[in-house]
């Protein structure tokens, strides 16, 4: 059984795709999504066999004037592309940074990238390259966080953790016993805690991994005890078992709808005015999902995008799950316009309910919109300058709700004495914060950086963050 092809990828809803911002030392109207880069390499005799691949830095023009930039670096082992360009107001440019460690002895090398701007101060970005001898090469390491061992689970569950390596973690594979389930997705910015804890590891901003496992697909229909194992593999082929979780699956007593999103597949690029999102949904007996799809919602970046066309026959689902009221029409398709979204990583997920029940999430996918607008195109947001004193203002009452039922009452959200509002949600949960004011821009605060809001989230023009 090809399980991995059936299961929707899942990552934290609150992962970060960095639309970054600079430390106060940077130019006032230009920002970066990273403040340093680290690369690793492992020698093989006189040649270097493996090393961290290219990484990117995004420059944002936050101002109202076009900016011309030029990129320089001060080390022979360091290369950047492109060397110069123009960024329109509100636009961005992506700089690709790579290293050439061949011929370098084992040591740590430091350099920097300088980005000169047509206005403002140059931005300097430190870069480190750790060249290792083979005996210094270490296995990947990390943590398998959830689900908890001993927990009883049903339907789709997030399988999550983090992994780092001295060169790069290439994959995290999920197994049930000896059966391969699928590859987790590494999601940039999903673990700021790990990033802060291990600042000297390559691509530490990409340590978090996640996989949405539909337990109904496990052997025995997802009823019984299963040992779920996560194995990380690095660029050199070293493997580490990050952990094993023994869970009890009880889908026989599940009352929630379940299903998956099949496309876009993981890390897919989508473009154009009509893109298709295929998925399927079922609900345990005696429930029925209305065949008009009215109780299935599609969410893109946390915002409700509409209902799919439902009640499509799927032979694979009908054969696997023959005894449900919607077995002969479990499939659905949702068509959407990718040009309404900025280039970059986004998240799509479905929620479903049957008659009389609260909706629940059934699957999610991360994908990349690429409409070739590219460099110089204006984005739909403008990062804020952080070099000014900002005061908390809560004169207008903020409110929130959680979950997929947007008819539930909003609750007030108040700041603490430090002018911070607090919310707690579960992995895979959804929040909707109503600032009840317009004109706000949203950022994710990290060390020295105000990044863009997490991938899969939206702050709309009416001041609703979801």
């Amino acid at each position: 059984m090809k399980i991995h092809g059936k299961v929707a990828f899942f990552l934290f809803l609150y992962v970060i795709f960095i639309f970054a911002y600079q430390s106060p030392a940077y130019a006032a109207d230009v920002s970066l999504n990273r403040y340093s880069l680290v690369f690793g390499a492992v020698k093989n005799g006189n040649v270097t066999s493996t090393y961290t691949g290219s990484q990117t830095v995004t420059i944002y023009n936050n101002g109202t004037e076009s900016v011309t930039y030029a990129v320089y670096n001060n080390s022979e082992w360091l290369s950047t592309y492109p060397s110069s360009g123009v960024i329109l107001p509100g636009g961005y440019a992506i700089i690709t940074v790579s290293v050439g460690p061949c011929g370098y002895v084992a040591d740590t090398y430091t350099g920097s990238i300088s980005i000169d701007m047509s206005s403002g101060s140059p931005i300097s970005l430190p870069v480190a390259m750790h060249v290792l001898n083979p005996e210094q090469d270490a296995n990947p390491f990390g943590i398998f966080d959830t689900p908890f061992s001993g927990s009883t689970v049903r339907s789709s569950i997030p399988v999550t953790g983090w992994a780092l390596d001295d060169v790069k973690t290439e994959s995290v594979k999920i197994y049930s016993g000896a059966t391969y389930i699928g590859d987790a997705t590494m999601v940039e910015g999903s673990r700021p805690d790990v990033e802060a804890l291990y600042p000297d590891y390559p691509v530490n901003y990409n340590a978090g991994w996640g996989y949405m496992m539909l337990t109904n697909f496990l052997p025995g229909g997802g009823n019984g005890t299963y040992n779920i194992r996560a194995v990380a593999e690095d660029t050199e082929g070293n493997q580490t078992t990050l952990g094993t979780k023994t869970i009890y699956c009880d889908n026989a007593n599940s009352v929630k709808p379940f299903g998956a999103i099949d496309t876009p597949a993981g890390e897919t690029f989508v473009s154009g005015s009509t893109s298709s999102c295929f998925g399927w949904a079922l609900t345990p007996q005696p429930g029925t999902i209305p065949i008009d799809g009215s109780t299935i919602d599609v969410w893109i970046d946390g915002t409700n995008a509409g209902h799919p066309s439902y009640n499509k026959y799927r032979s694979d689902i009908a054969e696997l799950f023959p005894n449900y009221n919607n077995s002969d029409g479990a499939g659905g398709i949702f068509l959407w316009d990718t040009t309404a979204y900025s280039d970059g990583v986004h998240c799509i997920y479905w929620s479903a309910s049957d008659t009389g029940r609260k909706p629940d999430g059934i699957g999610s996918r991360y994908f990349t919109v690429s409409n070739s607008r590219g460099e110089g195109e204006s984005k739909d947001f403008v990062p804020a300058a952080a070099d000014k004193i900002i005061r908390g203002d809560y004169a207008t009452q903020a409110q929130y709700r959680t979950g997929y039922d947007t008819t539930t009452s909003l609750k007030n959200l108040n700041p603490d004495i430090n002018d911070i509002m607090h919310l707690t949600i579960q992995e895979g949960g959804r929040i909707e914060v109503h600032l009840n004011e317009t004109g706000y821009r949203g950022y994710h605060q990290k060390i020295n950086v105000n990044a863009g809001l997490p991938t899969g989230s939206t702050l709309d023009s009416s001041g609703v963050f979801s």
């Binding site: 609150y14 959830t146 002018d419 605060q445």
Partner: protein, 446 residues
């Protein structure tokens, strides 16, 4: 915990403003901290301090959450992570364990569990002490003030917390027919004396009250001896909308040293006929009496005035109308006072939440049913481990009373509280007194 700090920024330059949002992501298998237990009054200023205690009453699950402290305006002052393994207990002294202690007006424990209980103890060292259970129940209708003493010797204070996100205007209808309104903004807490509602004039004619529009309100009342009269009584009750037709008064104190105060309040408009059945300690029923309480009136007196026989150990009141009520124990030397509500206090399991380390702890258990009850008592440490266990067999209507240590056959000096379970519903309470016999508080088994 995976935490993401988000900011929402508006404006430019020096006119820039922001709202900050901290989102905590917890594992999907961890329940959300959606359950709230209220400590609706905290005082840690002007010589007062407050002891706050939380007990995880689950024998299986860890309790996780945050103890949130708020000022009177409802602004959160601090958040203290709480993690209690099964049966674990944690106690705080607000004045020393919290920053901004003097500004704290109330606290809320937000946790993943409903298997939790706690209490507040208000005290001035060496003179006053009173204990009140924390509560997870927010009033959904009118709340009753079953007793008000506002005269030359007593003051009664009210402490009200608006748990809702909108302003609340409360109308307090007093037993003498007067009404006063109190407005509380969203999440606001206010504490005031009855006489402060009447320009500082005591109101000896007011005996009780009803707070209308009290949905979303949590509150308590405190009775305290007026200063300067040489008396040091303090006790309090939660203000609840609960009433019952069965009130249990599980203890009648020794008449020589103590007085036992009885209050039964009839908030309905109809006359209530009460059947009062006293019992000896061994469960033998004594002479039954009847009495009536007019609508919106109450009985207040002591056990002697109820003509309880001298060998009566406890009594039950059955009423034709739902009542509110409580009992008080006070020393005749005016130094100590303790009491608790008598409404809905029968349980089959619970805890006596504190074994006094600087004084004594008395425990009483009453089998309120006509069949024998088997009660298991466990002496527990703060970390949730068991120090000792014992079993009691209570005949129908029998009462067992003694010090905490006397209930066990082995040393329980390491224990900090007692948990119990019973085959029948029982009523129990604990009294904690100080070594110098100046401080006393009482709590029902919770």
């Amino acid at each position: 915990m995976n935490t993401h700090n988000l900011i929402f920024v508006k404006g430019q330059g020096t006119s820039k403003i922001q709202k900050a949002l901290k989102v905590n992501i917890i594992p999907a298998q961890t329940p959300l901290p959606e359950n709230k237990m209220y400590f609706p009054h905290i005082s840690a200023k002007n010589a007062w301090d407050t002891e706050v205690c939380i007990i995880n009453t689950s024998s299986f699950q860890t309790l996780t959450g945050n103890l949130l402290a708020y000022n009177d305006a409802g602004v959160q002052l601090s958040s203290t992570p709480i993690s209690l393994t099964a049966n674990a207990r944690r106690q705080f002294t607000v004045g020393s364990d919290f920053t901004s202690a003097t500004s704290i007006g109330y606290m809320i424990l937000e946790s993943s569990s409903t298997d939790v209980c706690g209490y507040m103890k208000f005290y001035i060292a060496g003179s006053y002490r009173g204990a009140i259970p924390a509560t997870m129940d927010v009033n959904s209708s009118d709340a009753y003030i079953p007793h008000i003493a506002s005269n030359v010797t007593w003051s009664t204070g009210l402490s009200l917390l608006n748990t809702t996100d909108s302003d609340k205007t409360l109308t307090i209808q007093f037993s003498n027919g007067t009404t006063k309104t109190v407005t509380l903004a969203a999440y606001q807490h206010d504490a005031f004396s009855i006489k402060s509602l009447f320009s500082g004039t005591s109101q000896p004619n007011i005996k009780s009250g009803v707070i209308s529009n009290a949905s979303g309100i949590v509150g308590l009342e405190l009775f305290i001896s007026n200063s300067g009269i040489g008396q040091y009584y303090l006790n309090g009750l939660l203000l609840k909308d609960d009433t019952t037709v069965d009130l249990y008064f599980p203890h009648i104190a020794n008449f020589n040293t103590w007085w036992t105060g009885i209050v039964a309040y009839n908030p309905s408009s109809s006359t209530a006929t009460l059947t009062i059945t006293p019992y000896q300690e061994d469960g033998t029923a004594l002479t039954v009496q009847t009495m009536e309480i007019q609508g919106n009136d109450k009985y207040i007196g002591n056990a002697e005035q109820l003509n309880c026989p001298s060998n009566a150990a406890w009594f039950h009141i059955a009423s034709t109308q739902a009542l509110s009520g409580f009992e008080l124990f006070g020393t005749n030397n005016h130094q100590q006072l303790g009491g608790y509500t008598c409404v809905n206090i029968s349980v089959t399991s619970g805890v006596f939440p504190k074994i006094e380390k600087s004084g004594w702890t008395g425990i009483a258990l009453v089998n309120i049913q006509s069949s024998s009850a088997s009660v298991t008592l466990n002496a527990m440490k703060d970390d949730g481990t068991q120090v000792a266990t014992t079993s009691l067999s209570l005949d129908p209507h029998e009462k067992s009373v003694g010090s905490a240590q006397e209930l066990f056959t082995t040393d329980i000096s390491e224990a900090t509280y007692i948990s119990f379970s019973s085959t029948n519903p029982i009523v129990g309470f604990q009294l904690n007194g100080s070594t110098d016999n100046m401080l006393l508080d009482a709590l029902p088994g919770m």
